[in-house]
């Protein structure tokens, strides 16, 4: 009897060990592989760049003939590099793929998540802000909040896009064959491609991304240099490009990064986080105009909201931010306002698992890649689904991220112009399930970002528009379920985001790609 129980105990032990040993590997990268492009866009070099006046602006030399000794020597180096690949090199080939713009966005998003930490209070109750003059801090620079990160994503993807337009221009100008077209014994890791090899588009992306991200995340200089070095090497390991293809691609990437960073250095971002007197005068203007104002509710109270002058930052496609400024929110105490107070209390008292799920799914709060990052992951899925080539990928991401940043700028303009209080400021003992951010309520950033992103994606993938717009609306309402936004913040924010995107889409219509 006793023995039987001991045996069954042992059996249970073994079963449990088996269950436990079934630990899965959790995905730390976006799940996509190299694929054949749906089209090559041979005219891509004629598309209108965002910052570059023309590909001819760059000093790109004519490539050596493939029969030249110079090229043949490079080809021999390529074949040597491709032989006896280590498993690490093979993993690098598989990782980077033939559409590496997505991988660099993934790196950007990881850095955003790493740096998206709000500085806490000092022991004396004051707050120290991150400073680009002293990036190591504490606190470290940057605080990659949604405004900062959307700006980083936009400048990164614009540099990639302009760089690839230039690369396409020269690819189809000189039509240098790929290494495997020159030497059929070469088996390229990503399959045969009809895309001319010079300049290497992978190298453009690597260099542009490295340089833009290094400026945006100065403490990551070495990390980014190492990632770029691996990416550049992988182009040879994969049999994609010879050294001269890569070198000229790197040159183009660095040049477009300079243009993007020159723009960023004068876009007004350095003045967005104001000193307290400026912040107080902005608040006073709202009190004078509307009779209400937003106050941070944290303990200790933060003296200045997040980036009060982000609404003055230079926009990509909207000539003047006030063109997209929505009308005022309901007056405090009005019937419409009271109805929203009731609505929020009702959500609080009737929280369901579905509302909670939506609030959390779209929260993308501190420590994450932010809502703009979330929309990039959505874009990646459809880029891969429709097998966009690197140039179309970059165009999709550039316009979407420009629209997202413009939407954020427009939203911030409204936030600090109207300076509308948050629900926790107005409703006694109100509790939320999401963290209330350190800036005014009207309009909702999530709503404007999401609507703008959804409109650009709908322009690119019209057959998928319904789901993009549905997700934007879900992202918008998620903030109301979370208890941190009024319903009109979200509704007007959606309209505002669509309005901003209409300017982006106007630019897309005339850039030559459609």
């Amino acid at each position: 009897m006793k023995k039987r129980y001991i045996l069954s105990l042992l059996g249970a032990c073994l079963t449990m060990l088996f269950v436990v040993s079934c630990d899965r590997e959790l995905p730390v990268n976006l799940n996509y592989k190299h694929y054949d492009f749906a089209s090559l866009d041979p005219n891509g070099g004629t598309w209108t760049p965002v910052l570059l006046s023309s590909p001819e602006q760059l000093d790109v030399p004519e490539p050596a003939d493939v029969n030249s000794a110079e090229y043949q020597s490079e080809l021999a180096d390529l074949k040597a590099a491709m032989s006896n690949l280590t498993s690490q090199q093979r993993s690098a080939i598989e990782y980077w793929t033939n559409n590496p713009a997505i991988r660099w966005m993934e790196i950007a998003m990881e850095l955003v998540a790493k740096y998206n930490l709000i500085p806490g209070p000092n022991p004396d109750g004051t707050y120290t802000l991150p400073s680009p003059a002293n990036p190591a801090g504490p606190p470290p620079f940057p605080f990659a909040h949604p405004a900062y990160s959307s700006r980083a994503y936009a400048h990164l993807t614009v540099a990639q896009f302009d760089g690839l337009i230039a690369a396409w221009h020269y690819k189809f100008l000189w039509e240098r064959p790929t290494p495997s077209q020159v030497d059929p014994s070469i088996e390229p890791a990503y399959g045969e491609s009809e895309l001319p090899s010079y300049p290497s588009h992978g190298a453009v992306i690597a260099a542009a991304s490295r340089d833009v991200l290094t400026a945006m995340f100065p403490l990551e200089k070495d990390y980014l240099a190492a990632r770029a070095a691996e990416h550049l090497n992988s182009l040879m390991w994969a049999g994609e490009a010879v050294q001269s293809d890569i070198e000229v691609g790197e040159y183009i990437g660095s040049e477009v990064a300079k243009l993007a960073l020159a723009r960023a250095s004068t876009d007004g971002m350095s003045k967005a986080q104001t000193p307290k007197p400026v912040s107080d005068s902005i608040k006073q203007s709202a009190i004078d105009r509307f009779g209400w104002h937003w106050e941070n509710q944290e303990i200790p109270q933060r003296p200045v909201g997040l980036a009060p002058l982000y609404g003055k930052v230079k926009m990509w496609s909207v000539p003047n931010v006030e063109l997209t400024r929505p009308g005022p929110p309901p007056a405090i105490g009005s019937a419409e306002y009271q109805a929203d107070v009731e609505l929020l209390i009702s959500h609080q008292n009737n929280m369901t698992e579905e509302k909670r799920r939506i609030a959390n799914y779209w929260q993308d709060g501190l420590g994450t890649y932010t809502p703009p990052g979330h929309w990039n992951t959505i874009a990646f899925d459809y880029i891969v689904k429709y097998k966009l080539n690197p140039l179309r990928t970059a165009r999709t991401l550039a316009y979407m991220n420009m629209a997202i940043q413009d939407a954020g700028i427009s939203c911030w303009d409204a936030k600090y112009f109207y300076h509308y209080p948050r629900p926790i400021q107005q409703i006694p003992s109100f509790k939320t399930i999401a963290g209330t951010p350190n800036f005014p309520s009207y309009t909702s950033g999530h709503s404007t970002f999401s609507a703008a992103a959804a409109e650009v994606l709908t322009r690119i993938f019209p057959q998928e528009g319904e789901i993009f717009r549905e997700w934007a609306e879900e992202a918008a309402i998620s903030r109301v379920y979370g208890g941190i936004h009024w319903s009109f913040d979200s509704e007007v924010g959606l309209e505002q985001g669509r309005d901003v995107a209409s300017y982006t889409i106007a630019a897309m219509e005339s850039d030559g790609a459609e």
Binding site: V19, I118, H145, I299, M351, Q363, T368, P437
Partner: protein
Amino acid sequence: MYARAQGAVYQPKLLINPQTTMNNYTRMLLVAACLFAGDGLLLAQTPTDAVMMKPREACLAVMYDHGKFDEYWEGSKLRTNATIATVHRRTIMPMIAIGIIDNLNVIISTPYVRTKSDEPNGGKLEGAKGFQDFGLVVKYRFLNRETETGKVAFVGALGFSTPMTNYLSDYLPYSLGFGAPEVSGRAIVQYEWNSGFYARASGAYLWRGETEAERDYYYANGSYYTAWMDVPNAVNFQLVAGKWFFGHSFHVEALYNSTTCLSGDDIRAYNAAQPTNRVEVGQVGLNAQYFFPNIKGFGVLAYYSQIISGRNMGKFTNLGAGLTYQFKF
């Protein structure tokens, strides 16, 4: 923007005195060590003592536990955070221990947990409440031998727990639990002298599964593109010294309890904890239990515990009390 801090809890210790027969005192100490690993809460229900119910005997218990902390370890740095102020965690835990056959017991528990922050707090976040994890422990006594000076016992325990409700584990410090299944294996050895003094040591390995968050991306020393979070496995050990008084109707004991996760990340600066965090806890406690001589089957117990060292964990103080009732069936 705000930061959610992380919480942790040490859970109700329960002393149950089953029937007292002539020479054979059976009693059971059930310690449920609940650790919140990051945003995840791990509930390990581990019976850690050496004493067993007899067949066809059961002990029903209801415990009330109140844990609170106003400091927590962010990584290894102890700090306060006015965003969450003082966090309270109250647990009502019904449990039953049943004697199946000689030397084999089963213990079932169904804790109900409520969490919230004191007012005022800077975060103004809603607390949480609901049933946490169903816990099942099977305990087998391999050895129970009288010696010249006392008695020695060796016990093994296998535990399993899993969430009873769809609570959100990724909501620290308010989440009810770590939201993942746990399997534990424990070995317990105890010596009781004829004088009534006793000493006990136990060690356990806690295997934890994954918990599902309500987002499909998170950062844990790098990106994760999934809603699933790996809750770190842990080891636990416990040392207890105690003494019986008044002919085994009252005893007190002092305890040191330690739990250490074997992997995981640290809470980042002024940021919320999450279930992936590497949690470490060192805790001391005092337990007392009294069995009413005149009310058949009833006993009461009370305890106090304090976390004295930790990592990614709230510095909890816990106070608990409970009622036990033992019966035959």
